[in-house]
Each structure stands twice: as C-alpha cells, then as structure tokens.
Symmetry: C2
Subunit: 384 residues, 2 copies
Amino acid sequence: MSTPVSHQPTLQPIVKEYYTFAEPPAEITLESGARLGPVTLAYETFGNLNAARDNAILVAHAFSGDSHAAGHYTTDSEGEKPGWWNFMIGPGKGIDTDKYFVVCPNILGSCMGSTGPSSINPATGKPYGLNFPMMTIGDIVTTQKTLVDHLGIKRLHGVIGGSVGGMQVLEWCVRYPEFVRAAVAIATTMRHSALAIAFNEIARQAIMADPNWNKGNYYGSNKPDLGLAVARMVGHVTYLSDQAMRRKFGRKLQDKETFSFGFDGDFQIESYLRHQGSKFVNRFDANSVLYITKASDYFDVVDRMGRIEGPGNNTREKTKHLVISYTSDWLYPTYQAKELVQTLKRSGQDVSFCEIEADCGHDAFLIPDERLTTLIRGFFDGLS
Amino acid sequence: MSTPVSHQPTLQPIVKEYYTFAEPPAEITLESGARLGPVTLAYETFGNLNAARDNAILVAHAFSGDSHAAGHYTTDSEGEKPGWWNFMIGPGKGIDTDKYFVVCPNILGSCMGSTGPSSINPATGKPYGLNFPMMTIGDIVTTQKTLVDHLGIKRLHGVIGGSVGGMQVLEWCVRYPEFVRAAVAIATTMRHSALAIAFNEIARQAIMADPNWNKGNYYGSNKPDLGLAVARMVGHVTYLSDQAMRRKFGRKLQDKETFSFGFDGDFQIESYLRHQGSKFVNRFDANSVLYITKASDYFDVVDRMGRIEGPGNNTREKTKHLVISYTSDWLYPTYQAKELVQTLKRSGQDVSFCEIEADCGHDAFLIPDERLTTLIRGFFDGLS
C-alpha cells in the first residue's frame, strides 16, 4: 500500500508517505472515461487524528505545490526549506496541529511523488508521457477522497487551499458536501476566464515549442528546459502584480550602472524571472505543467455549485464557507470571488467573504500575513 | 535617395517610398555610441505639403506596425487590407488629408522596409542579425527627423502615435520641442514598468529559446517560428483585457461540443491566440522583436520631460499636448498617463488629458471609435 512511484522527487521529507490504490485491473475511471491504475498519492500529515476521527483538515496545494505544507525539509538544489505554508500550519499556528490533523496530498498528475505523466506506465514499463490520461480537478479530488477514507477520517473538519488548491476546495464542496464541515477557498475562481486560459495556453505552447519536449517523450534524455522556463516566467508574472513589481523591482538595474545595450538582461526584473524559470526546471516536470494547466482550464463548478442543495437534502448540517480574495489578484480577481459568493448564497449556503487589501497579487496567500492567519484560525476554531 | 533595403517586405503598397542616408563612412552615431549606415527608412505620405511647409503630421506606428497607416494595400498572405489607422487618416477623417500632409515612417530596427537586423550589413554582405547595433526610441526619432528634414517640412503641425508610437511622440517632444507644434500621446508611458519589461523579456526568452533562432543568425534557413509565435501570443494578451476577452471568447469551445481531453486546444481563446501567433511569423522578423522590445524597455523620458523648458527658453510657442489613456489598458494603465500629465504640467507645458472608457484594453486605439476621432480632429484643427 505504499509503493513509491518511479519518478522520485529529490526532496527528502521526514514523514512523506505514499498510498497506492487501484491496482490493475481495478483501475479508477477518470472523468474523461479513461482508466488509470495503480494510483499513488504522496502525502504528509501533521498533528494527530482524534478518537472521533473528525478533526482532519485537508490542505490542497496550488498548481506546482507539493505535500510539504509544513515543517522543514531538505532539497538537493536548495538546501533546507520550510514547507510552503509553514507559517500557517503547526502547533499554535493558524491551522493548529495541536487541535487538527492536517493532511496534505500531492495532487494526481503532479511530479512530487504522486502518479503523473512522469510515472511508470505499467502497460509499457516506461514513463507515461502523453499516454497519461487527461485528468480533471474532479479526478484530483476523488483520489484525495480515497486517501482520506484510507486514513480513517470520518468527516473533514475542513478543506482549505488557494488558487488551484481553491478549485479543489470547491470541487470537494460540490462532490462530497456531506463530508466537508467547513471550506476555505482562497484566491480562486469557479471557472477559468479567457484570460486565465490564455496564459495557460501560452505556457503549454512554450513547452511544446521546445524540440526537446518531443511530444512528451523526453524522460531519460534532454528535457524541454528552455520551454519550461519560459512557461514558468509567464505563470510567475500572473502571480505577481503591477504594484508589487514596481515596489520590488521598478527599473532597477542588475549589477550594472548603465544599460548594456545587449540581450543578456539589464533590469533586475529580467534576472529575477530568469532565475524563477531555471529554478523551476530543476524541480518540476514539463508534462505535469501541461496536464495540471488543462485540468484547471477545464474546471467549472458554476452549475453544480448552484445546486448543492437538492430537494429533500435540507436537513443535514450545511458546509460553512469562507471565501477570500486579494485586491491585487488579477488572475482570479475579486469580482470572480464575488460571483462564487453570490452563487453559494443563491443555493442557500452559509458563506462568509473577505477581500484582503494587499498589493502582492495572486500569490499573496503564500506570503505570511497575520490577517489571513487570524481569519483562518477564527473560522476553523469557531466551528467547535 | 530611394534604395530599397535588402529585406523586401511582401507588401505591395501603392506609394511606399524609401529614403536612404548615412552612407558609410558618414554613418550616424546611435545613442549607444555604435555607428550605423546606410540607414533606409520606408515611409508613406498621404495628402500634400502646403506652401508654408507647416501642415505635416508625423504618425508614429506601434511596436509591430508599418508605414501603411492609411489606404488599402495588398499582402501575399492576407489579400487586400486597410492601413492600420485607415479609419483615422484620410479625406474628411479625424486626421484630414485634405488639410494635412501625413507622414508615416517605418521605424528603425523594424522589418517592414526600414533598416533593421534583417537588412544587409555592408561590412559583411550578409544580414546583420545580432551585429545590428542596439538602438533606442531616441535613435528611431532622430532618424525620423532626418526624413522629415529631407521632405522639406519646416515644422511639424503634429506628432501622434499610440503605445510604442506614443513613446516616439514623447521623445520628439523632449528632443525637438521647437519643431513640434502639437503632440498626441495615446496609450503610452514615460517609461516601462517592471511588468511591461517582464512581458517583453518573456517574449525575448521565447524567441531565444527556439534553437532555430541560432543567436540571431537564421536568415536563409529555418526561422524561429515557434518561439516567435509564443512571443506574439504573450504580447497579444497584454494588448487585450480581461473584460474584452470575457465578452468575446469567455469559455466558448472551438468547433466542439465537449472537451477533447487532449492538447490540441478546446477553447476559442486558444485557437485565436495560436492564429495570432502563426499570422505574426508570416509577416515579422524575430530579431526585430528583440531590438524593438529592448528599445521600449530602455525608453525613459521622465527626467528630460521635466526639463523641456530650459532657462531663457520661455518665449517660443510651446508644444500643445494631448494625452489619452484607456480605462482597461493594463499594460500602460491610466495612472501612468496621469504621471505624464503631471510631469508636463510641472514643466509648464500646455496639456490636455482624456481617459476614454473602453473595455478592449491597450489596443483600443486601433479600433474605430468616434470618441477618439473627435478628440484628435478637434485637437489638431483647433490649433489653426
């Protein structure tokens, strides 16, 4: 039940675990109708499951995230690093691991330990590449549900996540409403706008334009690093904001007093983006970018969110919702969070909404901010 | 005086003309200190220069524009097309060619008839490629001044342009204030923000990541079409707006009723961007993108704009300025136009400002709009 997938991450977590299910021929059926198995989810847990098995909070990571939500771990390339939400999760923190049992699974289709296009296809003995079936946010969530059941969790105290993690939160709410006591969707949307699809498509085209991509069949040879770096640069800019970039970089030059009049880069923002691009290729798989961006483009819960409460289903305890947006997020702007809030209200849900004033753009939820911590602590603790 | 450059465009204009100057050894010196010659500017004129030679309006085109500002012309790839500002320029139009002599030069560094990286380097007999010297908006404008002098224009009635064309307008104002009676800067900025530099850098990286780019030496062999297409897709998205893309594309599917669950593109916005990318590679040179994006990143007139009026220079007739921005332009947002207006006011200039409510983003000035036409007509005609 804990077979590591072939594509081992270079990270060396202390308590990374693996759950493997759907061994062929008992494969799972994906939303597309395609079948997949075995499926491994890498995950980490923090805190302890209580006797009632109802104090678990599932933390859903964003696009290129991983199961290292909290604590510290060691990477080959970057040394010791804190988990991506270490400021939020831990004893006495916003999500208090003295109270809650936190589970953070790496998503299906990723490359950080869970089954994805870089995993070995049992039918061929080679990495899937483009033979990996297209998957959806729904598929990500149903596999998470299998893991949560496996862990013996009776009902989730909460599901929380930002960006693509927020999409998973919404999918949990429409798919398993009775299983989710409280849901926190941060910096996310019910469905991608044309603008968001456009940037994802540019990222995909940048990867697929790299001849090393080779129709996804590059494992064991040269990887499409240049295309993947461009894709990451595009994505990274959409996570920032005009204001924050002005504040942080402006027109400052990199190691220069005057213009170089060449193409090696003059401005700090250029060096920064190149650095982000090259850092990303050391840790992430290009095909995973293709699959996860498609899953987020396909994601659309508008109709289902409007009919969570079917007839005769009004007696159960409803999920409590907290929706959080950021003023400077132009990838999933506040008006999209408000559309979500309105849809939840119309379907009779219990929903709170907060727009946080912050100039750092979409990625604001990954930056320590006492306002966010206080909101989340109050919301989860207020349920008990 | 009218030697066509080696890189002949495929367009067949009716009255495209060429002016060549700076034959070696009498090369021009660029802002970087590099020397360049000969220099050819392709240009088109509309209307007639009056006897006083003071009714000329210089129309400065944007990043990938050309001298075909008005009338109709024929292209190999797209058949007959109107000039890019044909709705604005012509008899009785906003810029009335019954009154004004309109000059539209293709900019230095471009590939639409003027000298650029695809032109023949006289020192080698081969295209310049990366041996083309880095040039600035200042260099673009000084070469335009040489052309304007050559045409016998005594003083410009006006200089007008949007985006990178607007940068040329501002450069004209600081470099030759006595020569410009009126200036209209549309959807532009005094200097690139980190965000604007970031998108240009991504476009450059996309081109340079294409192995066919070959350090700029691809003329006569395979061109970096895939990289250039990605670069164009990035640029194109920055010219649009979230609102316009929602209105025009939303989540509409292309020739499909359901998702393909593949990577060939599902959404109309994907097909649209791919189409924009492949159309661009048929008409534009990748190296020109590199040079012109760098010129616009380097552009910065903030300091010079603040000191147009030197001591003892207050008796001459001042340039009249009109600054226009668009509500949905997020590449050069209205706050940047206001910074320009404030700078002009502080230096004692005569400036009018108008923000046009439009949801179509940065490229709004290229879309017929009676409000823009009325503004421009009133501004130029009101001077006489």
